[in-house]
Every structure is written in C-alpha cells, then in structure tokens.
Amino acid sequence: MIDLLHHLPLFLAQAGEHGAPAAHAAAEHGADGAAGVGGLLRVNGTLPAWSAYLPLLPLLGCVLCTLCAIFRVKTRLPAILTVALLAVSFVIAFLTYQHTTATPGAQAALVHLWDWINFTGTVKTSSWSAAQTLVGNFSFYIDPLSCLWMLFVTGLATLIALYAGEYMGHDLGAGYCRFFMAFNLFVFSMACLVMGDNLLLLFLGWEGVGLCSYLLIGYFYQKPAAVAAGKKAFIINRIGDLGFSMGIMLTFVQFGTVEYAKLFPMIEAYLVHAQHGQLDQIPFLVQLIPVLFTIGAFGKSAQFPLYVWLPDAMEGPTPVSALIHAATMVTAGVYLVARFFPIYLCSEWALPIVAWGGAITALLAATIGMAQFDIKRIMAYSTVSQLGYMFCGLGVLGAAGGVGHVFTHAFFKALLFLACGAVMHGFAGQLDLRKLSGLNKMRGWGVVTWTMLVGCINLAGVPYITAGFYSKDTIMGDAFANPHTQAIGWILLITAGLTAYYTFRVFFRVFVGPKHYEPGDEAHAPHDDHGHDPAGGPALRAGPGHSEPHAPGPESRSTHGAHDFHPHPPGWAINLVLGVLAVCAFAAIPLVLNLDLLSDKIAWVGGMVRHSTAGVNPPHHDHAHFLGFEDVHGAMKIVSGIVALLGIGIAFVLHYAGRTTAATSRADALLPRLGPIPRLAQHKWYVDEIYDFLIVTPLWWMSHIFHLIDKLLVDGVVNLAGFMPRVAGSLVRKQQTGVLHDYAVSMAAGITLVILVVILYTTGAIGGPLAATLGGAH
C-alpha cells in the first residue's frame, strides 16, 4: 500500500501518456474503417489524480477492517470506517463522472496505476512466429458506462453499509470485522470489474466478487444451509466462469490482446461487417467469443439454467442480499454484455441466446415467485426475473433499456430487500408471509411500510409514477419494435403481469390487513445468528421477557407467540437508508424517462449508454407494429400499465379484500382448482431436483469410477514418483552425520571434484559431448 501511494503521482503522470497512443490508434482505425460507429471507442480523456483512489479506498477499508479483526475491535468502528471510506469513494465517483462528461468529445480515459501482468514472449510454431504480449495492467478504463455503474455501486454500498452497521449489530467483534472486510473487498472487486481496462482485471474482479459473495453467503458458517448455499453459489459460478475464462483465452488468441484500448478498435473492424449484415464474413471464433462470455454472464447474473444459486444465496445476511444479490454483483453479467456489446453484434447467435435466456428466466422465475411464501425468497426470484428483463433488453438491441433497468432496479430492489431485512430483523427471522400481517398498524413500522410500497410499485411497474415502469417499458417496447423478437415481447408482457401480482401479494399480506405476527425461530434462541443480543437494540431492552429461556412447544408457540414476543421496529439508520432509497427510486424517473438512443431528448442514463461501448449502432432492422400502433413505445406504455394494474388488482382481490387472518386468503380457495401447477411452482418446478438427477447423480457415479481408476493407476504412479525422492533422500541422508569433519571432508571432496571437472573441460576431454547433453546456448 505504501509502495503504491508513494508512486501514485508517478502512475498518474503516466496515465495521459498511456492513453495517447491507444487513442491515436483507435482514431486512425475509426477513420478508415467504421464510419458508422462514430468513433465511440476513442480513448482521449485524462483524469485527475484523485480518481485512482476510487477503488483503493475500499481496499484500504478492507485492510483496516482486517487490522480491526487483528486487534479484536469490539465496537462499530469497522462499520464507521466502511461507511466513511465508501462515502468518499462515492464522492470520487461523482467527481470522476463530472470530469468525464465535462469535456465534450472525451468518452473514455485510461488511468494507469501500475503494471500488473506483462509477459512478452515470442510464440513459435512450425508455421508462424509472432511476438505475443500479454499485458494486463492495473489500469482503469473510465467511460460513462463504468461511471454509471460505479456511481450506483458506491452509492448503494455506502447506504447499505450504513444499514448493515445497525443490522449486524448483534455480532460485534470478529464476525463484524469479517463482514465489513468482505464488504469492502467486494466493493473493491466490483470496482476492478467495472473499471478494469482489460479482461484480466475484469476477471480478477469477477472472481473477487464471486469470492466475496461466497464468503458473505456463508457468513453464518455454523448454519448448514448457509454453508451449502455458499458452496452452491461457488460451484455454479465456476461453471459460468469456465465459459468466461475460455472466452478470455479465445479473445487473446484471436486478437492478441486483452486490453480494451487495443481490443475495441479491432472489434470495430468486424462491426462494419455486422452493420452491413455480412455476418458470414466474421470468423467463426470471433462469433464464438460472445457466446462464451454469455455463459459467464448467465452464471454471474443467475440466468436460466444457472440461476439456482441466487435464491439459496438468501441465506446470507440481508444487507448482503441487498448489495450483492440484488443491486450490484448480479448486474456484472449485464455489464459484461453491455461492455462488449460491439462484439455481441458481431455474432449470429449471441444476442438471441441472451434474449431468449433472459425471457425464459424472467417467466420461470416469476412463476416460481408467485408460489413462494418466504418474502425474501420471493424477492430473490423477482431479482432473477428482473435480471431476465435486463438481458432481454440487451438481447433485443435495446442496450439503453437494459442498462436503464439495471439502474432503476438497483434502487428499488435494494429498497425491497432492506425492507424485508428490517422485517426479518424485527420479527426474529420471521419471513413467512402467512405469519405476518398488518405491519402498518404497528408502532414504528410506518417508514418500512411506506418505503416497501414505493419499492413494490416500482417493481410492479405502476404506470407513469415509477422509474421501474419506464425502464421496463423501454425493454418491452424494444422487443416489440423488432419483428423478430415480438414473441419475447409477449413473454415479457405476461411476466410483467405476474410480477405485479406477486409483488403486491407480498405487500397486501404482510404490510396491510389485520394485525398479526408470530416471531421467527430465533426469538427463542437469542444467541442464534439472527437472534438478538440481550444488550443489543434499545427496543429489546425495553421489551421484557422476550428472550424466554424455555421454548414452548411448536403449537403453543404459534398461538401464544405473539404474547411473549415484542417486535422491535428498526432504528434510525435503517429508516434513514430506506427513506433515502425511496427518494432515489423516485428521483430516478427523470433519468430514465426516455431511453431511445436515437432520440435527441434522451434521458441521462440513455446518454451515458450512448457515449459508451454499448452505444454502438445496431444493424438496421425493420420496424414492427404493435397491435396496429405505429408508435410501439407509446402503445406499450398504455398496455403495460394496464397489465401491471391488472396484476395488482388480482392481488388485491385474492390477498387483501376480505382477509381476516394472516394465514388465509381468497387465493387459498383458488389454488386447488389449478391442479398441480401451484405445487410445482412452489417447488421451483423441481429444477434443483432435475439438476440433481441429470447432473449430480451421474457425476457422482462417474467420480466414483474415476476414483477407483485413480486409486489403482494414478496413485500408483504418483506414489512411485513420491517414493523416488524419498529413496534418494535417505541415501543422501547418510552423509549428514552431524560431524564437523565429515562435512568438511565432503565439502573439500566436492570442491576437488569440481576442479577435476574443470580440468577435464579445459583439456577438452568432456567439452563438446557433455555440453551438448546439457543443452544451452554457447
């Protein structure tokens, strides 16, 4: 660290120089090649010194939290440090954004921190020989897209760290430090991922966020479910990462570089073909790269068929769910697609895969979400579903819509999760919507209820007053505008209705209606993970007898639970964070009002996308009509609004009107008539089980067979190989007698032998042949 800070000015001084040649090359390339692209890949900006601190502050936070852990800090110091550092990095992100957009024409800047990987070698094969340079520096590529991402990542991370400071208050000490350590490391990794100027740094961040996610999901490592969930997330992410890393290797093989500044100009050359519809002129391998990237993106962003880890990841602490699994990490896949949008355009299959994968995921997750009872889990499925929307947006060539939805979704989903977390926090881990009702009637829960409502209307896409409406609407409009993707549009439209239904199902059942609650399991086990330290929150200290030592039986708990348990409403930090997020959710509306890339009055987010690599002009396609309307987007606004309201209405009828208890509703009467569907949906369409049967079981058998082979054959060889050094060692060991004179004699004899060899060499006795045997240059 000291090393780095010492040299920072030096590095930053180099930043401009580094940028310059690349910009030159890119400009040259743009001149003779892609006229239609408009030189969006130019690297011509320079950035002031402080912008480099943006990722380094979280890293510093990580170090400081580690130090806290070493010095056994038992206060909220890690949280305070984290919030402060992240807030500063948010400010830096904002200033960087301003600086980036201040100079007209400057779209991207390189900030070179230090050399990281630099392998230069000549690759020789029988037919060709070329100098290959694998350069992966610790440099940042800052353009509006990465600015956008970093703005909401650091902003949300600050808020969520503030929230977590209170939320994790029961676990002060080593766990607290560990949590914030991983939290900071996560933000740092995310910064590397988003801002890295080459695929290797991106991959470092990619793996880093995966690692932090694994650490944070498994935060309650005493809980088997948490450990299993962490493992699941890790393994499924590995599958995606395999694809991604193969994509990186293929990129290097194909283009000879992994640096954006060199890579994009080369892609641009292919892009010309793509924009003229001559996809057959693009090499097969180039077309394969985005497909491999997509595998990685699907793994990280939990898309079908790799989505199964995300709902299980809800085992982690809620702030983690909010930060990692709702707002930031899962959007890494979307970022990857958006960042490499040009190369996606060069592929025949990549974008359809993205679009259809997204659509299927959106529908599937929405149906599963409808049948769940655990509110956090519902939110998880809604995340999967909304991520599907984003991929669809990119897949149907509406990059601005996809990115815009990332932006709006970040706020309202974080809001929803944090609200759910507040409920969980207050009701001792209770998340079953059948056991909670009428929160708005309880003291201290007003902020949570209202902010939850804000989140719900955004997720449901209530027309005109919510940001979620605009961004989702753009995606659907883009889907319908293209004649080839109208089927996707229909799927998304149906999904929008389902989304509105399950969102408000949660709201109507939990937050309004008759007042009723049962505490979760942790009320009776105060030392459990979500249980409250008796000296924890003020509300707990006020409420006597909540931690009844002798747990009554399950039946008596369900009936009398409410009498000896007092929920404690959230404190100022949680309320503040929820409030701020709610305001943000509304404040985002003007930023995503118009996401048409070709329009002049494009909103802020759209403008950011337009000036980034995702803003390339897609190949021209026919304009389709939607239900006979020429203005597809205009029509969509009305139709999707109606669909959303319809969904809310159904939810109102089934889950609010006439409900008298928390557990029952009109929907229960409806369920048996639907046959096996609700049961299947509740069991997540048995996807996990299918995976078990199709993949895990055969693998298990195969591994056993291989294990047998391994034991018999490979181990034999390995043991033999391990045995030989042992034999050699025990032979040499006899020399090590421990007697000074023996050592001296051996040394002298060794020297004598060497001198003899030298004599033989100089007299030519062994010069040629031995030298030839030993190889080497003369």
Binding site: R733, V739, L740, H741, A744
Partner: protein, 118 residues
C-alpha cells in the same frame, strides 16, 4: 612466450640470480593451501583446525604477494593487509568461541559436537 616475463627477477637482495618464477611461488602457495586443508580435515582440536584455516589464508597471502610482484603493482600487497585484518578478526572471534565451547564441555574435541544430524 617471453621467458623473461615469467621470471621474477629478484632484484637487489640478493644479486639477480634467481630462476624462481611466478609458478614456483604458486606451487608453494598451493601446497600450503593443501596442507591447511588437510590439517582442517584431519585434526580434531578446534584450535588447530582454526590454525589450519589461518594457514590457508597465509597461502592466499603468498599467492597475492607473488602476483603483486608479477603485475608490478601494489594492489596485491594491499589485499594482504586486509587479509591480515580479517584473519585477526576471525581469530579473535574464533578463540572466544573456543573458550566458550571449552567451558561448556571441557574439551576441545570438535567431534564432541555432533548432536544434530540427518
């Protein structure tokens, strides 16, 4: 090869009548070096062992002086001054160590220190 070059003509003391060449001195030096080495390997008394390393240092000294004469510069002689310094320093420390060891085991036998092996 110029024979005169190899002859270290002994000037002045005594009269120049020498046929001792550089190689003569080197042979003496090498023999003394070998003698020191052999002594180091065979003698078990710690003090004598160290004397033997001094003998090897002295062999290097003779070679250095002979080379100094051969090249007609004084660098070799200067080197010998430093060799003497180092020999003195090493001897001081070695003898202190020997005293310490002797106090511990009451013997100067190097072979009595063979606890660690393998």
């Amino acid at each position: 090869m110029n024979d005169a070059l190899l002859t270290l003509a002994q000037a002045g003391f005594p009269a120049p009548m020498s046929q001792a060449t550089l190689m003569h001195y080197l042979v003496v030096s090498a023999l003394m070096f070998g003698m020191g080495l052999i002594g180091f390997l065979t003698r078990r008394n710690l003090i004598i062992m160290f004397l033997c390393t001094e003998l090897m240092f002295q062999a290097a000294g003779i070679a250095l002086i002979a080379f100094s004469r051969f090249h007609l510069n004084h660098t070799g002689e200067t080197f010998v001054i430093f060799v003497l310094t180092i020999a003195a320093a090493e001897a001081a420390m070695a003898l202190a160590l020997v005293v310490l060891l002797f106090r511990r085991k009451e013997t100067l036998d190097a072979s009595s220190w063979m606890q660690m092996k393998g």
